[in-house]
Subunit: 303 residues, 2 copies
């Protein structure tokens, strides 16, 4: 059996009771270690908690050597641990397809991920549109495909969850050209970097998918003991130090209910200013007024 097990967001004890029981009986335990990290537990902490050796699975292993992961999984129990929930990345779905093709039974044990836990910021999940990924800009690669998606969401009044890039086990290019493999230290995108990149693209595109005054929420260390939220405009967050990783950002859409706003205001330094920013933002992509009722049409014909 291949157990696909979500680990949740922060602690080793965020695994479910059922997930832990499955890990404990597995012959091999892999931890997917490149799309996210468990904030408050490293490999050795997990090994101690599980009473099991944990094998770190980097991108290369998952994408090119999945046969190794699936070896004998038709007779032995193998666990594949994913930070957050199980199906957060296409590579995980791909692993299940490969297992299925090999006749290996698969059981998924779900957990929280940022996709649902972000509700902790106070915005209702059903008012979120598509989530988008924000990747680190480089000198010659500054992709802006997220811009159209944010625009699509905001046109229909929905919030956008921005998932921030992490770079783990990236080889140093200069060293590689010298024939040596040296890994860069891990990098986790900050709230400020994300918001600066967004401002740069708005500056370039000028289509007003959003403005420097658009209200946002920074979501930091979600699910961990020192989780924190900051409600501020995009421009303000571009200069905000949100502290230790991991971070996400939510850009608000027009659909903000009073209850939601109440909740958010507790995270704003200047509550009045934030409330005004939210109200001002509701003018963007405002739906046209409803068509006149039939009697109005008749009376205007009479004029």
């Amino acid at each position: 059996m291949l157990y696909m097990i979500g680990l949740g967001l922060a602690h080793e004890s965020d695994i479910t009771v059922r997930g832990l029981a499955a890990v404990k009986k597995c012959k091999r335990v892999y931890l997917e270690a490149y799309t996210s990290i468990l904030m408050s537990a490293d490999k050795s902490k997990l090994e101690e908690f599980y009473g099991r050796e944990v094998i770190l699975a980097d991108r290369e292993m998952v994408e090119s050597e999945s046969d190794k992961i699936l070896e004998n999984a038709d007779v032995d129990d193998v666990a594949f641990l994913v930070v957050g929930d199980v199906f957060g990345a296409t590579t995980h779905t791909d692993l299940v397809i490969r297992a299925r093709d090999l006749g290996i039974p698969v059981e998924s044990i779900h957990n929280a991920s940022v996709m649902n836990a972000v509700g902790a910021c106070g915005l209702q999940l059903y008012n979120f549109g598509q989530a988008v990924s924000i990747v680190f800009f480089t000198e010659d690669w500054r992709p802006d495909s997220f811009y159209n998606k944010v625009m699509e969401n905001r046109k229909i009044g929905l919030h956008t969850l921005l998932l921030l890039d992490i770079k783990v086990k990236e080889p140093n290019i200069k060293e590689m050209m010298r024939g040596r493999i040296v890994y860069e230290p891990p990098r986790y995108m900050s709230v400020a970097t994300c918001c600066q990149q967004l401002l740069e693209i708005e500056e370039k595109r000028k289509e007003e998918a959003y403005t420097p005054e658009t209200p946002c929420i920074s979501v930091s260390r979600l699910g961990s003991p020192n989780q924190s939220f900051k409600a501020a405009t995009l421009k303000q967050l571009a200069e905000y130090d949100a502290g230790e990783p991991l971070h996400s950002v939510v850009m608000l859409g027009r659909q903000v209910h009073d209850l939601e706003l109440d909740y958010l205001l507790a995270f704003a330094d200047d509550k009045d200013a934030y409330r005004k920013a939210v109200i001002a933002d509701q003018e963007y992509f405002k739906p046209p007024p409803p068509p006149p009722a039939p009697q109005d049409i008749i009376s205007s014909d009479e004029e």
Copy 2:
């Protein structure tokens, strides 16, 4: 401390290790018992698992008697258990606001919910738009506000998660008029009922937000041992018996990648027909072709 604890989807053991530890030390344990149910565990099973009495909190208690829930929570530990993740409904956010106003510290322990676990059907979560709720139609109340939202999602190529109504502890109206409170047996919307309601509204509105041939996936008992998926058209699912509750339905949008389709086909009775339905559906809301490149404009000017 008020602990807001997500229970996950099906088993008593779907609670996290950290969540279970919190429950065990709480003086009072409430289970929110009206927006969803834990499929494979009832109150007594939970009580045995926790070693704690569990108080069922119905809508009235949560919305009107929240003071009772929060009583002494500034000095005692109180747990409020929610099926799925913590912030699935506005009433939960509301409870946290009330606690905050009373100076009661709150800790959230997240878990899986249908909002992220639906990724198990094989569609990538970042291609989902806003989720919509489908409520039971009655003779004189057949709300169709979901229709515009599905349209909005499908116009930009996104999938829609349809959350199906459940009715728990609904009073019998006739008995109520006789001055007696008798509760109806619980009702959980089936996949077929949901799809029939969708077809009825399309028949009425005729704006082609979707058609009887639109590809969908029924998602049944997600996260439980007998979880199942069925990939079929809306019309086919309107006659499909998906078995025991709980159910959800996903209506596909245009953005279906090959890897996703591969995954879905394993759930289709007639793979060829489903593939054709997906391809045909991609003609709906197709984006206009990109504007001609500058040289094309010049050459057409020359004609």
